[in-house]
Symmetry: D4
Subunit: 219 residues, 8 copies
């Protein structure tokens, strides 16, 4: 694939209020290097998502030197050092510790866009007391991103206790009928709690963008 096969959307921030991230899942190291070359030429930083450690390790040294890479979430900041200080505006909740990679993808995306977030991890409904301990803290935030796999019961329980926007992210955690996350996705869509919304399976980046969209018009 040559450089002319790629058209960066450099005006997205102005149109939508947040920038295009570089989704690396289907790209070879050579392709990623080519896009980073373009970004470097344009003097622009970027967020990279779905960058596996194996492929990250194969990028050109000059590019790796400019990456702030997080292997858990498989995200990287390229040529920029984003910071998100101040009171959190979004809560990032997970049902189990296996959902943390997806939650961190959301967290890093918000950090990249300068929005501070509060992580509340491993509070699934099999031990309900863990959530009830934290619910008041969460109620003070306008948006929650809730990552859950398997039966994804957590967003429903949260939806009954909290009145702000709940962006549930089904995760591919599980096996058997839960493998791949479709069971979690359907449970969320069929939630008995009203007004819960969702994004694609494992799409922590998309959930963060939804939170950004919800915050966009706020003062």
């Amino acid at each position: 694939m040559s450089a002319e096969d790629i058209k960066l959307d450099l005006t997205r921030r102005e149109r939508l209020g947040f920038e295009e991230a570089m989704f690396c899942a289907h790209k070879s190291p050579a392709q990623i290097d080519a896009v980073l070359d373009q970004l470097a030429a344009a003097g622009q930083g970027s967020l990279l998502t779905r960058l596996e450690p194996e492929r990250e390790a194969m990028l050109r040294a000059e590019h790796r030197a400019r990456l702030d890479y997080d292997p858990v979430s498989r995200t990287a900041f390229y040529a920029c050092t984003p910071a998100a200080d101040g009171a959190p505006r979004v809560g990032i909740v997970t049902a189990g510790s296996s959902d943390v990679p997806v939650a961190r993808e959301a967290l890093r995306t918000l950090t990249y866009c300068g929005v501070p977030a509060l992580p509340v991890f491993d509070v699934g409904v099999a031990g309900l007391w863990r959530l009830l301990e934290r619910i008041e803290e969460l109620r003070s935030l306008p948006v929650l991103v809730v990552a859950a796999g398997m039966d994804a019961a957590l967003p429903s329980v949260i939806g009954g206790l909290y009145g702000g926007l709940v962006v549930a992210v089904p995760t591919s955690v599980g096996y058997g009928v839960a493998a791949g996350g479709q069971a979690a996705l359907n449970a969320i869509l069929a939630s008995c709690a009203s007004g819960i919304v969702t994004v694609n399976i494992d799409n922590g980046y998309g959930a963060a963008c939804a939170a950004l969209r919800a915050l966009n018009h706020r003062a």
Copy 2:
């Protein structure tokens, strides 16, 4: 279909501890009448399940006179007047009021077999306080049948609060991705609470039989 097409399993109680019920879903009124004739000839009563009001109304008058029919659960007792008195041994829980027909199928099956049960209806997790009010009462029972459709989050929450046998029954309540009950079934199978078991969608009869199996060996 003539009488010789049907072979009643009249020794099931002796083998398994509970009798065969008559599953009416795929049978015409004429076929049901034919089986009732055989039962009458054998001097045996029976439980009928999945008998829609429309078909019940088309049975022969002599048979209808001997039916105790419940249109909500679509069950009937034929030629017998079962009673289940005493302290409840099984809890029958539903997430919503739309799950009641399935729950009542379980309840009537237990009544038919002489096992008293405690109904606790409409305590879904969107209003968690409804369940928490009743949980202590449920903890005193060795088996719970829990009917839930849509996201079926209730069995997971119960499974984290209660240590006896939980027989979840997914129901076909819902629409869109919940239509038909497959989403509820998968959520139950993928439950984050350990040791929850399940039966086919809408199978209140089967859940009651599972409770009977669990109670069979008890003193």
Copy 3:
């Protein structure tokens, strides 16, 4: 089903900022009448959803007299006359005219909650000029509900042109592979536009609740 099978969640508004609606899809006229009796006794109005004209016509006359019924959206206001005046705060967009019933369910839910909305119907991408004519008007609103069936390409196109919250509602409009709305749902979840969120198929009520959640914390 008797009255004790139903537990109204009368404190939801206080917990979540919006009230429980009465989902009528799996309820018989007798059951709906029973709930309306309870509401009447509590002196409370309500929103009814998924009430088909056939069943509406079978409700008791005293209840029908207090219903403001809309057959297109199959919704009714019971014992209340909600109004939503002022500048619109939510846009309600549809791809085709067949998506209007779902869109109107969202619209009526917002009206019930006092939130004015702007309908922009029949602007699907097969005639792209129809959307482009209205996009500036939509950009002034913080939340859009976008109902689309078949290939559901509209939310993706809007997501690339608009930076606020996009709550897409897949509809069951279509046939063949589109029947039931699963193709539309998957297209939305897989959208190439970042941060689009979705709800269950045909769930106009849920989309409106999501908009209410997003507006809840606003000044």
Copy 4:
């Protein structure tokens, strides 16, 4: 992932009568080491499930020294030496020899909880005499765990011959339409034998927990 991402549920035994196991499938060796550190600090033993030999071999030496690891079932006892002596209280049955790993996961879970079990392996219905030879022995036990893949006909046949609780575990054994275990799961759910219950595909641990729940209230 850091230690604060994990919240152990150390009071589960007291709530439910059995402890949380550590599900290792989605965890890296480093994450597993971190949890074992926490357990060591709390002076608590544990059961580990879904621990592949490759990952077991990468754990820290100090932890491996305290593991009793079984590669067939991919389970380990950490910092404890459970024993389950006495007359068996649960039967563990398999249809084929390929179902043994799942059956042993159930067996080891019961051993961990001190419940003796009787293994009866490779008695599938293609050679019916193998089951009939053992059925009397099985009838003396209150609960059977039955692992079967492919067409999963064995639980149905057992359900017709045995009156206690039958917890069927569909396995992912098979290929073509049987691949992944969904065909086995559906056959069990649709069983012509009444009152059979099931858990997720390959969930030997969950089946054992269900047996524990059923035994919990017994004298």
Copy 5:
């Protein structure tokens, strides 16, 4: 649809050893009448399948007078009086009484082709003794057609006890995961008994044709 839209395959018997049947499922009474007109003109009889009583009653009187119609199997012989005397050459077995309509479609097809068959109905594995009573009789026949819905365990058990050709017919009997017959079909395809073959769900006609194909080359 006019007569020129239809091309009868009048030479099939000569090519294949059995004739084309008229599959009525998607045809209106007018279309069926048109085909019968063509057959009458050609002086040829026929077998009609999937002819519901409602449509049969709407055919022209002159055609109905020449039909031998069986409402259970929804088949008819047109303008012919087939007989199948002598020792049975095919066994027709069903698991339950609800599978009888499909079994009778097979039986009537064999009768139409002059092949005597032995019906053995309602011998499903939930009461295994019913099959074991008849198995010796079945062993004397070269081909068995076995109709079973739900979990379709019967063909697997028969396949382990009988060495001739087993043509299993999954039926759409059941509900929940069994609805439509896909679970039964998959269980048959995944059978642990070797060499079982199958046809489409509810395809009694096809199973009979398979038996005819197997008998075709015999002396």
Copy 6:
């Protein structure tokens, strides 16, 4: 639904070379009448598709008088009398007589656009001689529309014998695994013959539009 819910795309012919048809499947008679009113006001004719006889009979008399309605294909010409004379430019082929309604939808669409077509019906591969008799005639045409349900083997066979554009239309003809047409669709997509294209199940209208697109640029 009021008139302002609908936006006719009156410039489609100019953009694409063919006009919008009115898809009636999800519209009530009142809605259809409203669109016809708009067309009448604009002095424009139209093609209506998916108009069931029951709904056609409920349209206003003044509109029915201007319809040329074909109940087999469920199509109507409104306020126009299209003719398509001359040598055929497209072949319309069906595998069975049950595929004719879909084929006629394609035929009527072509007629509406003035393109003559050649119908070749009921030439499925179970009687291969029927196709081979007509193949030379078909070879003279640049485009074939081939409607087939069930196993949809016909387009593959044609694709190996004919070098022009083959637009296959899977139909929902069949039962069991063929019900709904997904099996036919997949067989066409997986065709061993190269370069076959397809449209949605039963979409005769779309297949005709594809043929029009292919013919659009021709001299």
Copy 7:
């Protein structure tokens, strides 16, 4: 897994007329060695199926010395040298060259049982002349095994030209909607040719067993 986990069915030939084969897909080299030890002790040969070259190479040398291994079909004869001479009694047909591994599994199974077979490979319908050249030869045989992936149109065409038993084997050859063989399986089940039967995807062994069952009762 120890030796007592395995129960060989050494009397199958006597019951069914053909022996159990050893299905190696889910077995480790150590488990396969253990079974071969048992067979050696019993002085019995065997057929091994689904034995990948990688695992075959890891068996103990003493066992490998007694294997006649075919890497294409992944089958082996253990401790026996079957021969199948004389006129062929079964035809083995494939649509493409990618279907040959499955076809050879059938061929080797027949050889193991002493039944000569005629291979006719790569005669798919995209080049129909290839089949027509061989059809007369095939017509002389009582049973055909037909392996086809992708759209599996070949069995339908053969079923219209040949009157004996057609055992179609769907193969997992293909990609996209054909991946895994489900499209091929459904096309076969929905075949427009009557009386075609099928087995699980890629089940060449099962197709051969079906042929053996059909030949079992012949003189």
Copy 8:
């Protein structure tokens, strides 16, 4: 697999106007070498598709020397040097850069057949201006091949702006519900734009063949 297992269709060009390509996906290097030997013996060149770099590297040196291999599209020209000069006759459009491999498979197929094509890559609807810049250029061409994964909204938008033949190719680009390309395929089949056609997922070769079929009859 020996040489006699393969039957090249050397007369396809004459029958259909384009030659058979060699689909390498299920073939070992040895099998591919065997086919190339046959082609070399026949003095014929060929197009190879789905040839992964790993397998290409394992072919015999003499064959590799005669291959013009493109790793992006995984295609090779064997023993020929096709050129496609002149004004483009087909447009090849992609939604994203990840769709380029499929698009290049189409492009190389057209080049092999001497048809010049215009690539227009990375113009997905999330940045609509990218497509609008190129649409006039595309309108001058009679056929477009449009490759798109994820939600595949691009073909619908193009179908509303362009009146020639649109052959959409769904790609397997994406994750979660988009994984494997089924969501993209269904979105295309359900397109709101009329007359769009499609081929199997990732089938760039097939899309090019469809374009060739459409161009075949042109002057």
